[in-house]
Structures are given as C-alpha cells and as structure tokens.
Symmetry: C2
Subunit: 278 residues, 2 copies
C-alpha cells in the first residue's frame, strides 16, 4: 500500500493510496479521509461505495463529506467502483458494464471473474488493509453509498451480519434483478441463472431472511433514474412484509446528483457516528 497523494482539508488529511489487490488481481486505487482526531487516537470508519462511472475521486470532490467527518471524528474510506488496468475485461462503449460498473459482486463468469471480485474487495481485503496500517479502530465500521454504491452498501450490510454498525444509502438500486442496470451487470458477471443474482439484491436478501439491521435510505422524488432503475417501493414492500426496519425518506424535489448527496450527507454521517459510538 503506497501513498500517492496527501491533501490537507478541514484540519485532517485526504490521502490517496494504491496497492496490489490479491482478490482483484490488479492495482487498485482508493482514498481515505483521516479527521484531525486521528492524529492522536484511532477512529471508526465509514465506507462510501460510489455509483456507476465513478472512481474514488467523485465523492471526495463533490459530496462535502469531509467537513462532517472532521467534526465527527470519523474516517472515510472511498474505494474505486471496479478493477482497473489494461488487462481487465471491459465494455468500453458502455458506462454501465465493465470498468466503473463492478456492481460490488464477485463475478463467476469468464472473462469477468478474473478481476471483478469487488464484493470480497470492499468487505474483506480493503478493511483488513486499512485497519492494519491506518489509525482505525479494528472492526468498527459503517457503510453507505450512492446509486450502484447504495445497492452495494445495502447488500454488504445485509450479507455480512454484524460487520457494520450501521448502513445507509442515497438513491440506491434497491432491486437490481428487475432493472436494466442490474440485469445487464448480473447476467454478465453472474450468468443467466437468476437464482444466483439474489445473493446480491437487497430486496431479495430481505425476502430471504437476512438478519435485521436498520436501513436508512434517502431518495429524491425528482430523481431521473427513479422509475426505471431504483425500485425503492419493492424494498419497502419486502421490509413491510416481515417487519424489517426501514426508514425510506422521499426527499421532495431532489434529483440523482451529488447536490442531493451534499444536502443530506451530514445527516447520514451523524447517524453513522452515533451508531459507531454506541
């Protein structure tokens, strides 16, 4: 793990690292914001999973999250959205498949399976790596994200029982098995057997009996992808059917952009900070 950039912000440090990933079999880049508090003690971490087309740079530049992380004394861990490099399979004509669109699954189909192991990367390899060398409290972490990354955050928290103190999401893809983005990636990375898709689908995981963890979701009502891709109503129905704790806030007039995220990221980080301090 090699530090390739360090920028002072809100009294803390916004660092960027690259490392050779054992699960993705390529060089991966990620960013970490360390709050001022991390100079003197270990801090908890909130993982941010980004959406389609993003790298680690979008959230650190656009979300305004570092201000709150500095105030709350939490680190932000910001991974990339897919494996990278010339040797990594891609669909270069598409923004919603291949590089930038790892969908936080472990691919089983050739040629994708060789590198697209993003689920293991964000839930196992990356936490072990950063906890070993950065001033983080081992195992004390929460997770959030946006769109494809909101899907990723929900799925990680629903599958990894006890691993995350709290989870939230901005405009997540709630039922990827039935939307265009999800069908495209799942059929490519996981194959044509739709049963295998359910392991990475928040709505299906709730239906199948995932252990309870409260879900906090913000969804803009003017989101241009709401009707075709996100399906929060399916997740809501699945949660209501079994009394699964869901707070789904429909935010009037907000769209899918980082301006929406910026508006509510402070509330999400405060929510996670509280869970991480309990």
């Amino acid at each position: 793990m090699k530090q390739i950039e360090s920028i002072k912000e809100f009294g803390g440090l916004l660092n960027r690292y690259e490392h050779s990933s054992a699960v993705c079999h390529c060089t991966m880049t990620f960013s970490v914001y360390l709050p001022p508090k991390a100079e003197t003690e270990k801090v908890p971490a909130v993982y941010w999973l980004s959406g389609l087309t993003c790298t680690d740079d979008n959230v650190r530049t656009k979300a305004g999250a570092q201000r709150y992380a500095a105030e709350l004394g939490i680190a932000l861990i910001m991974p990339d959205t897919s494996p990278r490099g010339d040797e990594v399979a891609d669909e270069s004509e598409r923004y919603d498949l291949g590089k930038g669109a790892g969908f936080y699954v472990n691919a089983t189909q050739a040629p994708w399976a060789a590198h697209y192991q993003m689920y293991d990367y964000v839930t196992r390899e990356l936490p072990a790596l950063v906890e070993a060398v950065l001033p983080l409290v081992p195992g004390l972490k929460s997770i959030t994200g946006h769109s494809m990354g909101g899907h990723g955050a929900l799925v990680c928290a629903l599958k990894e029982t006890g691993a995350y103190r709290s989870v939230s999401a901005f405009s997540p893809i709630c039922h990827p098995s039935v939307c265009g983005w999800g069908e495209g990636c799942f059929s490519t990375y996981l194959g044509s057997d739709r049963e295998t898709w359910k392991a990475y689908d928040a709505t299906e995981l709730v239906k199948a009996g995932a252990a309870e963890i409260p879900l906090l979701i913000d969804q803009g009502t003017n989101d241009e992808f709401l009707a075709e891709q996100l399906y929060p109503q399916d997740l809501q129905t699945a949660c209501e059917a079994r009394g699964f704790p869901l707070t789904l806030r429909r935010q009037e007039g907000y769209d899918h952009s980082y301006h929406f995220i910026a508006t509510f990221i402070g509330e999400h980080l405060a929510y996670h900070a509280k869970a991480l301090s309990d």
Copy 2:
C-alpha cells in the same frame, strides 16, 4: 436570460442561466444559488470569481459553498472565467491565456478586445442582469474568488469604491504584473505598456491610493503556485506602507485546490454575510 438548469440543493435552488452578453458579444453561461430564504424575500449576493481553466461549474460542484449560503440566507453568483464560443479568440494550446483565462480585465488589443471585456461583465452587466430578474436586494453585494478569481475579486473591490460591502480571496494572484500568468495575459490583452497593467493589479492599486476596504485573504503555505505566481508578500508590503487594512492568513499545510477552499469557504461566507447585514 434563459434558465437552462435547476437543481434543488440544501432546500434552495442551484440554477444555471445563459444570456447574450452585450459587453462580451457572445453567449455567456453562469450559475446562481438561491437560498431557501429567497423564496419569500430578497437576499444579498456574494459573487464568486473562479480561477484559470474553470467555468461556472467548478465552484458549485467542489467548494461546498451552498450549504453555508443556505444557512446564511445569501445568494451566490458564479460567472464564467472568459467569453466563450467559436467566434471568440483563443490560444487553444494554453490553459493560461484565452478561453478560461479572461483575467477579469477589459482587453484593449485585437483580436481580444472584441470579446474579452470580463471586468465590465462581472462588475456591471451581470449584476444589473441578475438584480433585475432574481430575488436579490439591488446593490447589496460582496465579492470573493480563487487564484485568478481572487485577483479579480480584489481588483473589482479596489476599483469600484462602495460597490461591494466586503471582499475576500483564496490564494489570489496579488501582483499579476510581475508573475508569469499575469504578464502573459496582460501583455496579450492590454499590450506592452506596463503602465496600463496597473489598473488591474491589486498591489499597484493599493500603492496608487485606492479607497480603503478591508481585504481578507487566505493563503495555503503548501500552495504549489505560491512562490512563482501569487506574491502575497508584495500586497502585504504595499498595504503596510500606507496602513491599508489587510488580513492575510497563512494557512499551514494547505495547497491551491478546492479542498483548501472548502475548508475555509464557510468562514468567508460568514464574513460576507455579516458585512451584508450591517
């Protein structure tokens, strides 16, 4: 003036407009953030002048300013950094001359003078335009900016006595007549007579007896352009020589990026909001 985009953020509206500029003789694009308070009453405005290579989009995406503007009840007016369009003279190989590098001067040299009238644009045409149609208190405005835009903000406030309630700048080009960026643009837009450059040089304006207005400047000590381009020490010397009010804060460890701006924009906007409410 035609609205081409509107995004809800922090309860207010981030709008983008285009209009036919009478002084720049081309279509100009700018952004405005209207805080929630502007729904029911007129609000004061803070103008943000951006740096080299920027459009109106950089600050609205990266600075985190809208959160504070919403809380403080002030509008943000974010113009472009130069005239635009196929008919506008340019040096397409250079980032520091031509489009994206208007330097907030009224050019006198051909072919630049036909469109590069950014000083009149930001001090006269744009304020008259937005005050006529948006919920702004006429004439109640302050100004700030970054790098080339910090230079612009200082020069506008030093030349337009009484027009701005307050002025501040992030890592401004304080003495453009003696740095590479300034010499390149001034010699191109204004010609070889260095006397004419002094009308757009904050250090020279202070020396020449500009009316007093307190200058607030934040400058990162790790700024990669500090030694070669910014010369805050020259402005400081000029201010000290005549007792001109300058608060120059050297911020330890910060660089030239929007992460630096994001860290201190809240303090700057609070400073302007106070001046605008006195």
